[in-house]
Symmetry: C2
Subunit: 333 residues, 2 copies
């Protein structure tokens, strides 16, 4: 019942989270191949009581591999995923390389699991901010179509990888010690600061992270007409993203209906304690599988009670990346 599994990018932040989640969920495999760039090749990683040696990711890495989980960056995915597919491997790719390809399913198992079976060798894992934002929006959209979303993100350092997480810590120490912060992983100081997401801007002034949110949501919801605008911001938090989401629905909706719909939705936990002013925080979401949702309120600035505000928090490395990919792999088996 197992499979021959490979992980490409195993030494990265998401790669390490793959291992943690495979173990937690007791993912069935007959063999496991750990792959990374030649810089990391030769490293030893212990996993479930067995020692593995990290091998260099090459086009020949995939003979007899059934499933490969890729999180090695877009450039490496573009280079090596086609070779894996040619070798008969089904790839779950965490990069943005193939997400918008028409013949590549882009899957969040809570939303569109039926797309998995349409794959032609590649299934794409959506971007972290997209997953964290739309897992709780989907059950609402199914009940009452969302016409428009206005999203502002509060994104953790982890989205930029392990180096960025270390940099947040090291910069923080430098500043507390009265020194100049060293910026290497990020272009600007992240400690005690925040900045617009450092991905390339398109001609309209939107950065790639924002463009992904718009395009990926439309594809995953299979709803090209949904109107979305987005502002993506990095804040000095380690590994959970938050998002402030304003929703305009086709029909009237109440906060109670939203709470009811979310309370039974898969992958979602409602944390909306007005009495104690207790709502989702990054430290609540860290290490959790579910997306936490709170601040569920009517938005009176939209007519006819068709507006709702929510505030969400989700672990960027888990549901935002590794967990979602492992859930896809589980459905593949």
């Amino acid at each position: 019942m197992g499979c021959n599994l490979a992980i490409a990018g195993v030494t990265g932040a998401v790669g390490q989270e793959f291992l943690k989640i495979l173990k937690e969920r007791d993912f069935p495999f007959d063999s496991l191949k750990m792959l990374a760039s030649n810089r990391s090749a030769g490293k030893k990683i212990e996993f479930k009581g067995k020692k593995y040696i990290v091998e260099e990711l090459t086009k020949k890495s995939f003979s007899r591999i059934d499933i490969a989980l890729f999180s090695a960056g877009g450039a490496r995915s573009k280079e090596f995923v086609p070779a894996a597919v040619e070798a008969g491997t089904v790839v779950v790719d965490n990069s943005s390389a193939f997400r918008m390809d028409a013949d590549v399913p882009l899957v969040i198992p809570e939303i569109n699991p039926q797309k998995i079976q349409e794959h032609k060798g590649i299934i794409a894992n959506p971007n972290c901010s997209t997953i964290i934002g739309i897992v709780p929006v989907w059950p609402l959209h199914k009940a009452n179509p969302v016409k428009r979303m206005v999203v502002s993100t509060y994104q953790a350092a982890s989205g930029a990888g392990m180096r960025a997480m270390f940099e947040l810590e090291s910069q923080t120490r430098e500043i507390l010690d009265g020194r100049e912060p060293t910026c290497e992983a990020f272009p600007y100081q992240i400690a005690f600061n925040c900045f617009s997401h450092n991905s390339a801007l398109d001609a309209n002034g939107y950065n790639l992270e924002e463009v992904k949110m718009v395009n990926e949501t439309r594809k995953i919801f299979d709803c090209p007409e949904i109107a979305i605008t987005c502002t993506c911001i990095r804040i000095p938090v380690l590994r959970a993203h938050c998002e402030s989401i304003n929703l305009e629905f086709a029909d009237p909706i109440t906060p109670e209906q939203v709470r009811d719909l979310l309370s039974t939705a898969p992958g979602v936990s409602v944390l909306d304690d007005r009495e104690n002013n207790r709502f989702p925080m990054p430290i609540d979401a860290t290490g959790k599988d579910d997306i936490l949702v709170g601040r569920i309120r009517q938005d009176a600035s939209i007519a006819e009670n068709r507006g709702i505000n929510i505030w969400v928090a989700g672990d960027q490395l888990r549901k935002g990346a590794a967990l979602n990919a492992v859930q896809i792999a589980e459905k593949l088996l």
Copy 2:
């Protein structure tokens, strides 16, 4: 040409900023009285080469005082401002105590300076998030009425006072040292975390900070029909707030028009360098008088090119509090 000036709450974060700004702007005064709670009475503060002894704020503090700048919290303003007014003092009050009173002008000098002369002894300084958000929105609203605003804030610790700023630093040290963070000024961990603004929630689930933004903007713009929704979040930053603002206008508008209007607007600096992905950050706004504006983009999710996104940063202690009050006092003279 001077006046007899008093500062109530002089030892607080805003009180200290009052002194800095009065000195920078060479505010003309004949005498200066430094007032604070009895806990701080007796402290010595040097200002412009002269030593002052902090006196206890009482109802008798205001004899012969022409102007008093209050930043001692809402409860103290409610207790002592009426006595000051009775003594003939004109009070510029930074608390929320009188802001929504019909006969109290609520003033941002860049927006509604004409209201100052209508005062009956009290002029209210708006809330920091309101000032920082709407100084750049006003010149746009004058040119093309804003129908609706969706705001998400990224608020610094300074808004909760000096203790909160120290707590951000001390918690950060505790966490870096592997200890449990101590929460006293804030209800929750602020270091490497963020949380929904810790002010009381109303029956609709909006916290006071959000309610202020809505009500104060309507009063300052003299536009009760403007639709506003708001989500206020604290992030681990010391003293500058950022806000992600989505604007729906009555008529079509382009990013170029917005940039043109803002480039000549008082109190605003445009920092919108798409080429270098360089936009306003809290560390840019810290210590600056102007509100910085960037990420000026068309919002395609609003029909007919009537949508614009902007991202702003402003120093919470300066324009968000002390500077705005001093500007009002300057206009009083």
